[in-house]
């Protein structure tokens, strides 16, 4: 305890009055109770939103008054600011929790192995009415949408990963900030901001123009899975370019020089040294890009329509994906009226699958980035 003594002995002025650490939490709890009591007295009943707003206000005032009277005004302002910032965070978590909760509870209640393995082939309103009446199990399913999601996403990857990665290599290794490099960087930025529905319209316009050139008045055949894949590529390429570029710039110049000094040509240095070193980062960036486009709805509905049944052919006929299935089921139920509930339940089940898919992809990206990364050298 000698060290403590020497410290304490000198500076009597260094300590100042401070509220105990637990104060903010005690005050917050007290404010909530007070808010509930007030809402009962003043509004004659308990109302969560009203009580929450009240609790927040009471808490702020209490914190300020308490702190100002005890610790001084500057400290009080600091505490109020901290309280406000913390509560914005908590408030922002409310919708996330609510959304995940609804997805899990509604989707979890509706989902079944049958839904995952059946399509909407032969679906009739009668079947849904029977289900709502409790006479049958939930009919239909979204196997076709899962297949469509996978096919279209894979096709989009085949187009955008090479283009995106090669462009990033051009920007990092060859452009040396020349005019073309700057132009591409700028346009990639612009492309990041293209609304997804515009990307869909572009792909549709492209293929229907081509179709019209080959065979007049045949624009209708432009709606295929492949058209959707092109639309998704427009959205995916800029993400892949940005992520890959960032990762490639992180590869130390040291390694490139070491390779050049061994008499290795530039292209081989890039392929054999630079890319393997950054492969974890590139893959994780690509996975993030996939997670982003796999949930896109608008570009798919304008390019691939809404298929009710299984279609394995990317180049002919309409296709469904999970997002378009959700949209279609919710807004255009098989059976109107009370039995629309059945369609809504299928939509929520598909939403659960989609959310799980996206979460898994995001998680995968993190794992790839960690596991595949070269072991830290220095």
């Amino acid at each position: 305890m000698t060290t403590a003594d020497t410290v304490v002995s000198k500076p009597a002025k260094l300590t100042s009055k401070q509220l105990p650490k637990a104060t903010p939490w005690v005050v917050a709890a007290a404010s909530i109770i007070a808010a509930i009591v007030i809402s009962f007295i003043a509004f004659g009943g308990f109302n969560i939103p009203v009580a929450a707003v009240l609790a927040g206000l009471i808490n702020l005032i209490a914190v300020f008054v308490l702190s100002a009277s005890y610790e001084g005004r500057r400290k009080a302002v600091d505490r109020v600011a901290t309280t406000i910032v913390t509560s914005t965070f908590i408030l922002a978590c409310v919708p996330l929790v609510s959304l995940l909760w609804l997805t899990v509870s509604k989707g979890g209640a509706a989902i079944s192995g049958d839904l995952l393995t059946r399509t909407m082939l032969g679906m009739k309103g009668v079947l849904d009415q029977q289900y709502v009446a409790g006479e049958a199990t939930l009919a239909g399913g979204f196997y076709h949408a899962i297949v469509g999601t996978v096919l279209i996403t894979v096709a989009a990857c085949i187009i955008s990963i090479p283009v995106g990665v090669l462009t990033a290599i051009y920007l990092v290794e060859y452009a040396n900030k020349n005019r073309l490099g700057k132009a591409i960087t700028f346009l990639v930025d612009v492309m990041t901001g293209i609304p997804s529905i515009v990307a869909g319209l572009f792909a549709f316009a492209l293929f229907s123009t081509v179709a019209n050139l080959i065979m007049p008045a045949s624009a209708g055949i432009a709606k295929t899975g492949f058209t959707a894949a092109v639309a998704l590529s427009v959205l995916m390429i800029p993400i892949v370019v940005r992520n890959t570029e960032e990762i490639l710039r992180l590869v130390p110049m040291d390694l490139r020089e070491a390779s050049y000094a061994l008499g290795v040509p530039k292209w081989k240095t890039i392929v054999k040294i630079v890319l393997p070193t950054s492969v974890s980062g590139i893959l994780s960036g690509v996975t993030i890009a996939i997670a982003r486009v796999i949930g896109e709805t608008a570009p798919i509905m304008v390019t691939a329509g809404f298929a009710k049944t299984l279609n394995w052919n990317l180049f002919s006929g309409w296709m469904s994906t999970l997002p378009t299935f959700i949209y279609d089921s919710q807004l255009r139920p098989v059976s109107p009226g009370a039995a629309a509930l059945a369609s809504s339940e299928r939509a929520w089940a598909a939403a659960l699958v989609l959310v799980v898919l996206v979460m898994v992809l995001n998680l995968l990206a993190r794992i790839i980035a960690k596991v595949l990364a070269p072991k830290a050298g220095r």
Binding site: D254, E257, G263, I273, P276, K375
Partner: protein
């Protein structure tokens, strides 16, 4: 199998900036030549022109000649990639390829240059290069572990092994010990002594004692001031540079009365 290097009227530029001015020098085969001088005097820059690594930096250029056994490496039609296969280089910071094992690192130069090796050839070459770099005994049990797991000094020797595995004629070293502790430094210096039996070695160093210990000849570079080009002041036998330099500038630097 080592070569003589003749540097004639070498000027080096970064864009419009003249970094080094009018270097003349003859480097004998099977010798160790040290470049010394204050920071920014252009000694590393000169070293990097000897295997055309200089031009990796955008905007860098060179005028004059560097003859390797009489052939100008800046002549028309010369491919820098081929030059670099003849002139190996070791850098200031050890930079083993992080994705490769110790063995793969040693073989990287040969494999990336498209030479197919049988397993026994590969094993042979690995052992020969690692022995050449005085590293064999320390790593022979863990050839398949990543090179980045070694200590700093071992990594630097791994980089030397990697450089000599492509069987160059000349070995350039850019402050190879500046990031190492004294014991590892000693190991590298011993190695340099062995290497000069086979290779023409050129080493840049900040450490004058090191230059005195390892080199046969020493070149002293200096710079008149910021923004001025670096110049070769004196090039002579190491013993005479350190005991009896011709130029006052050199003596000032050697004795610590710099500037």
């Amino acid at each position: 199998m080592s070569k003589q290097i003749d540097i004639k009227d070498l000027d080096i530029f970064y864009g419009d900036f003249r970094a080094v001015d009018g270097v003349q020098m003859q480097i004998k085969p099977r010798s160790v030549t040290a470049f010394i001088g204050p920071s920014g005097c252009g000694k590393s820059t000169v070293l990097r022109t000897l295997n055309r690594m200089h031009e990796v930096i955008p905007g860098a250029s060179v005028s004059g000649e560097v003859l390797m056994d009489g052939n100008n490496i800046y002549g028309a039609g010369v491919d820098p990639v081929n030059v670099r296969r003849e002139v190996g280089m070791v850098f200031q910071r050890a930079n083993p390829f992080p994705t490769m094992s110790i063995k793969e690192n040693v073989l990287a130069g040969v494999r990336l240059n498209n030479r197919r090796l049988s397993k026994s050839e590969a094993d042979d070459l690995t052992e020969r290069a690692l022995r050449g770099a005085n590293l064999w005994n320390e790593v022979k049990d863990r050839l398949n572990l990543p090179g980045s797991g070694l200590s700093g000094g071992q990594q630097q020797r791994l980089c030397i092994a990697r450089a000599i595995a492509v069987e160059p004629e000349v070995l350039l070293m850019d402050e190879p010990c500046s990031a190492l502790d004294p014991i590892s430094t000693l190991a590298i210096e011993d190695l340099i002594n062995d290497l000069k039996d086979k290779y023409t070695v050129v080493i840049v160093t900040h450490n004058m004692q090191q230059a005195a210990r390892v080199s046969d000849k020493t070149a002293f570079f200096n710079i008149a001031g910021t923004g001025k080009p670096g110049k070769l002041i004196e090039f002579n036998e190491t013993s005479s540079i350190f005991s009896n330099p011709d130029k006052e500038e050199t003596e000032n630097y050697i004795s610590g009365r710099f500037g």
